[in-house]
Symmetry: C2
Subunit: 227 residues, 2 copies
């Protein structure tokens, strides 16, 4: 993010106090916002008819609210509003290759958000939320593509989750066994980074070849995919 | 995967029948195995003290079983064995850029596995499970790095989840609005692929520069990260 918002502490409720992996817990709002800004797919945990489900879905994060499509879990979220969810966004940055198997791990950034999503019914807010969601994954497309018709808008279930209660965990850097007795083993240790990048635009096979991709897509192709 | 296993149908229980996105549901075992083989981080959904949590964690999949560390959810999984979980593995392959915002989407492969994980207590099975888990993310490291001591093994909680009940969803290909009235809008449409790749090995800053990385790591650096 180019202009991080002012730091506001994340809440530290019973379930976000980092009982485990305490050293990896972060508690500033900028870190949460940065993790959310760097992605566009979350894993939504919700209980549907007594069954816990974890569903991947696109999201948009803006101004203290996370938006996602209600359709992904319509059986529960539309049928039973008021259900608590956990939404997790994770970026995998690399493998931590230690001298011992026991110290192997992953460099990552992850945010878990807890709350009760609210169905967005106001048409203006729904448009704003869908814009946020669309621009999160495909910036520039809201102004380029055809916007939702009134009928499409009515067919879209959008949910809003406040970014009030969240747990952020980050691991960075080399393995932790550099000063353990294992360092004497003479084994290589370090990190193998994992990178995500946008590839080359693939036009719809049915597209008129005279139609060129818009600049915002041309500029994105081939670039790193995460902030 | 170079040698896909023989196709066994996934179960079609009430919760894996693809009520939504039916066209994207897949029901063969090879597709599940392929999705699991292409990753090493899952999102584990579990209810802990009445709170639903979605936790990212590494896994290993082998011969009908998914292994993961019990420590990631020790409060529930160790304290309350028998709890049902949902484990989801997702690969994002690209953005689907349609003529209309409404038809925008994501190309992806995702597997959701339902079940009750079993704590692995037998020392031999635990070693085999940890080998599977280690080799899933860092192939070659089990034979290269120092293996777990008896003390480390005792300190490691490993869980085994049978790959019996699963739901696989896949979306591939161009946008779906190529033959809709929107095709007349003259807008570009297609797919922007998202690629993952391994970067350049970063040695631990404390490492003796005379220690070279082993061939299995040298060969992996710079290659595509997914099958």
């Amino acid at each position: 993010m180019t202009t991080p918002p002012p730091a506001r502490p994340l809440s530290a409720t019973e379930r976000t106090r980092h009982r485990r992996l305490r050293e990896q817990g972060r508690a500033d709002r900028a870190e949460l916002d940065s993790i959310l800004a760097a992605g566009f797919v979350c894993h939504l945990g919700v209980t549907v008819d007594g069954t816990l489900m974890v569903v991947p879905t696109v999201y948009g994060a803006d101004d203290g609210t996370l938006y996602f499509h209600g359709s992904v879990a319509s059986r529960s979220l539309v049928a039973a509003p008021g259900a608590a969810v956990c939404v997790t966004v994770t970026h995998i940055d690399g493998l931590v290759l230690a001298r011992s198997v026991f110290e192997h791990g992953v460099n990552y950034r992850s945010a878990m958000i807890y709350g009760v999503p609210r169905p967005v019914t106001d048409e203006e807010e729904k448009l704003a939320g869908l814009r946020c969601l669309t621009e999160q994954s495909a910036p520039g497309q809201w102004d380029y593509a055809r916007r939702p018709s009134r009928k499409e808008l009515a067919a879209t279930a959008l949910l809003a989750l406040p970014l009030d209660e969240a747990s952020v965990k980050v691991r960075t850097g080399p393995p932790d066994d550099g000063d353990s007795p294992d360092a004497e083993l003479g084994l290589w240790a370090g990190v193998l980074p994992l990178n995500a990048s946008w590839g080359t635009l693939r036009p719809d096979p049915g597209l008129d070849p005279a139609i060129a991709p818009p600049p915002h897509l041309v500029h994105r192709a081939g670039t790193a995919a995460q902030a």
